[in-house]
């Protein structure tokens, strides 16, 4: 494979960013290695785990399945670009409030998937929340708290999102 490099001009978190990189360079590699935006994580690198989820043109996308050169003028938003004036977004605050974090590696991807969901529907159903998160894997298996956080943010009444086990009945 030749290592000839091509020039791309990307719009990332509202800023124009220049890139000179070989054609096979993914958006994820550009973000992490060239722009030092390391919030998007490289998990599986073939589209299954969701840890690299960003928004392209306002829709969720896998940064690892997008060639940087093919992004064109479509705006990219990463986990670094969603904070409001308080330093965190509403989705991030909801995850913190519910303790929806274990090792944290998958968290940026979950945040971006929920950011997309809540931007289109501020009061999603339980089913819509689960569908929105269906493409994000948490290898700590900490899904319950993540779903709880999203349900609280959606204003849904607290309910058993999983069948309650014996420990739940002892009060």
């Amino acid at each position: 494979m030749r290592t000839e490099r091509v020039h791309s001009l990307l719009q990332v978190n509202g800023e124009a960013r220049d890139l000179l990189a070989p054609v096979p360079t993914t958006l994820l590699e550009a973000l992490r290695d060239s722009f030092e935006l390391t919030g998007s994580k490289r998990g599986c690198n073939h589209g299954v785990c969701g840890a690299c989820t960003v928004l392209i043109d306002g829709r969720p996308a896998r940064a690892c399945l997008m060639l940087a050169v093919d992004v064109g003028d479509r705006p990219v938003v990463t986990i670094e670009g969603i904070a409001d004036a308080n330093g965190l977004s509403a989705v991030q605050r909801a995850l913190v409030a519910s303790g929806a974090i274990q090792c944290g590696f998958c968290t940026p991807g979950f945040v971006m998937s929920l950011t997309d969901l809540f931007s289109r529907d501020p009061r999603p159903s339980r089913e819509a929340i689960r569908t929105a998160l269906s493409g994000n894997l948490c290898r700590c298996s900490g899904y319950v708290k993540i779903v709880e956080a999203a349900e609280r943010l959606a204003g849904l009444p607290a309910g058993p999102s999983e069948p309650s086990g014996p420990e739940a009945t002892h009060g």
Binding site: M1, V23, G47, R59, C64, L65, D70, S113, G135
Partner: protein
């Protein structure tokens, strides 16, 4: 590796004449294969600027022409009345995950012809046709003739999938897509598409290198199960990390029953 993003079909056809040139549509399979070291084309021809590959146009008969660069998310958002287009919309909702659906395209999926993919199954059941363009003009190939083998299609080198044409389906017909997978969004272990009313046309995915067509089956439990058992006995499904061949044979009749009855009763899956 070279990259071009032509703005006209003529320029795209010229770019595809280059040695080891391939089309880049949504990239949701090709870039994954490049990342895994399974593909290293010498020239990528991005289709993203080609207006000719975009857009949906409803036909007077209730059918639908789908531009090849239409994403799964766009199709999933449709709610068509006619059974043929409805089958594709329902199928699109079960393709992979939201972040894949927002970028992956029907043209890319059709051209790749993955034996576990969802659209090839639905397109055969719906008797769709594939519009193909090339330097010598365009042609249409029935979906039932288009998928030739494992990742093999009727496309010749240098040709591009331009659009997919969905006929409306029989009057009053319903449609259903039954997909069995390990987790939501994974490739199917077995999937069945059905369209019809008293009799249904079915297509089965995951049980061979290409979808298998079962045309004109009575949409009744006994007939559907019998057709399913006969197919399970005669087909040669793969065994892989998702399921054994025996498991695929075991679940096939029930999935055919569910799809056939759901189509008959017009029930959304």
């Amino acid at each position: 590796m070279n990259y071009v993003a032509p703005e006209t079909l003529e320029a795209a056809y010229r770019a595809l004449q280059a040695d080891e040139a391939v089309c880049l549509a949504g990239g949701q399979s090709l870039v994954a294969m490049m990342n895994l070291g399974l593909a290293a084309p010498k020239q990528l021809v991005s289709l993203r600027r080609l207006a000719a590959l975009r857009g949906l146009s409803e036909q007077l008969d209730g059918g639908l022409r789908i531009g090849a660069m239409t994403t799964h998310a766009e199709l999933a958002g449709l709610d068509p009345k006619a059974a043929g287009p409805a089958l594709i919309a329902r199928t699109a909702r079960l393709v992979a995950y939201p972040a894949i659906r927002s970028r992956g395209t029907i043209g890319g999926s059709v051209a790749l012809a993955d034996p576990s993919a969802d659209y090839p199954v639905a397109l055969q059941a719906a008797d769709a046709s594939i519009e193909i363009g090339g330097p010598d003009g365009s042609r249409r190939v029935d979906a039932r003739d288009f998928f030739r083998g494992l990742f093999e299609t009727a496309l010749n080198p240098g040709e591009i999938v331009i659009a997919v044409h969905l006929p409306p389906g029989p009057a009053g017909a319903g449609a259903a897509y039954e997909k069995l997978s390990l987790v939501a969004g994974d490739f199917a272990i077995v999937s069945v598409a059905a369209i019809g009313r008293e009799t249904v046309d079915l297509a089965v995915g995951g049980c061979g290198p290409t979808p298998i067509l079962l045309a004109g089956v009575a949409a009744e439990t006994d007939a559907l199960l019998a057709a399913g058992r006969a197919l399970a006995a005669s087909c040669n499904p793969p065994g892989d990390h998702r399921a054994s061949a025996a498991y695929r044979r075991r679940v096939l009749p029930e999935l055919i029953r569910r799809a056939g009855l759901a189509a008959r009763h017009g029930v959304a899956p």
